[in-house]
């Protein structure tokens, strides 16, 4: 079973990340958050050569990576994933995925039916957040910002629709 983890980020300012950062710092008073960044994860599984699949995904469609506005990178496995660049602070990565992954299922159908990539048997979609924290941030700061258990608690994952994994 082969795997391709494609991480996509905007070249232009990311308004989703900016608004989430505003909500966490200004509305929920998480002063320990210095910067919030976002990448989209497309995780392809199946029987394929990863390099060949990537080439086809980049050449045949702009659905996953639109070169006019996206930059991308590959990671071999998510377990060792690091921030895409360095900046001040401590970079904590959190992957948020839907409990019902309609985007992944739509992408799978697109790969197989439209692009003819029959070797792809599963596609998962998620959002990889990088939370840049102050050095003295509390140890539970990430969970408090992610786990949206109440109006004044958390934002990035509603546990009734999403799950998350801290790396």
């Amino acid at each position: 079973m082969a795997e391709l983890n494609l991480l996509v980020r905007l070249k232009v300012p990311d308004t989703i990340a900016a608004s989430a950062e505003m909500a966490l710092t200004d509305l929920l008073a998480h002063d320990e958050l210095l910067k919030l960044e976002r990448e989209e994860l497309w995780r392809f599984s199946g029987s394929f050569d990863p390099d060949e699949l990537l080439r086809k995904l980049l050449d045949r469609t702009s659905r996953f990576v639109n070169p006019s506005k996206h930059a991308h990178r590959l990671v071999a496995t998510l377990d060792g994933v690091k921030p895409f660049h360095q900046r001040d602070g401590k970079g904590e990565l959190v992957l948020v995925t839907k409990l019902d992954d309609f985007a992944g299922r739509d992408a799978l159908a697109y790969c197989r039916n439209t692009l003819g990539l029959s070797g792809v048997t599963a596609v998962e979609y998620g959002t990889l957040w990088t939370l840049w924290l102050a050095a003295d941030a509390p140890t539970d700061a990430v969970e408090k910002m992610v786990d949206c258990s109440a109006r004044r608690k958390g934002l990035l994952a509603n546990p009734h629709a999403e799950s998350y994994r801290v790396f």
Partner: protein, 267 residues
């Protein structure tokens, strides 16, 4: 006269039609921006209008739910004042924990997640359940079926805890349910347009004074707003409607606002 505060966040786009729907039944409705909380002091009821607050960033309704003005809305809800959220307003109410509102302190107990079919803008049929339980439905007959349009990408009621759904059903909190044009259960798309659990289109809190409703009754407040190709009695009425008729003839959604007006002693 009691005032209905129609709340608008950045990205709300249904505030003016919401104001018109309230005023059509004699309510005194005032537009209140999210950063004008001081205007809410005298509000007798709150109406979170539809649209795309904060452009649905992160999740629909998620950021608006964190705004300070929701603190006042929550206090009003707890005091028994009517609070209505339509479409994006409904998403804000769920992200605020005000609906289903089973537990004290308003933890988030559910989500309005992505539709199974993506963004949808179409007419649906709703059955009104236990209309006596909510100040927004008392003018309806039990089991009344009405056509109301939807326009959303995230309206699929879901919860990770099946016990919550059981409590919502047992408590009679489902106020509107998607059905077929003849009122039969909507088992699948397109009658259940978004794959929502138990075909739930609108849900109240246990007390009934807070209603989160995904379809847009303000877009079905006048008969002239209906398309002529609707099946059923409302379609027949619309096809018989001419420019010589009164342009203010009521559409199927008006009873929701009429219910609120009666509750507030206006109409």
């Amino acid at each position: 006269m009691p005032t209905v505060a129609v709340l608008a966040f950045p990205g709300t786009n249904c505030e003016y039609e919401s104001l018109r729907a309230c005023r059509a039944v004699g309510l005194d409705a005032e537009l209140v921006r999210w950063n004008e909380a001081e205007k809410l002091k005298n509000a007798a009821a709150f109406f979170l209008a539809g649209g795309f607050s904060f452009q649905d960033r992160v999740r629909a309704g998620a950021i608006a739910a964190k705004e300070a003005v929701l603190e006042q809305v929550a206090r009003a809800a707890d005091s028994g004042k009517p609070v209505l959220g339509i479409c994006n307003g409904a998403q804000v109410l769920l992200e605020s924990g005000l609906v289903p509102g089973l537990t004290e302190g308003h933890p988030i107990e559910a989500a309005l997640d992505a539709n199974s079919q993506g963004y949808l803008c179409r007419w649906t049929y709703l059955k009104v359940e236990q209309p006596e339980r909510s100040p927004f439905t008392t003018a309806f007959e039990p089991g009344e079926v009405i056509p109301v349009p939807i326009a959303h990408a995230e309206g699929r009621f879901t919860t990770a805890d099946p016990a919550i759904l059981d409590k919502v059903e047992a408590g009679g909190q489902v106020t509107f349910r998607y059905v077929t044009a003849d009122g039969s259960p909507a088992d699948s798309y397109p009658d259940n347009p978004n794959g929502t659990l138990n075909a739930i289109a609108g849900m109240s809190n246990p007390a009934g004074n807070v209603l989160a409703l995904m379809p847009h009754p303000e877009r079905a407040t006048w008969l002239r707003q209906l398309p002529k190709n609707l099946p059923g009695v409302w379609g027949e009425r619309r096809r018989g409607f001419t420019t010589a008729d009164d342009p203010d003839l009521a559409g199927p959604g008006r009873k929701l606002f009429l219910s609120l007006a009666r509750h507030l002693g206006v109409n």
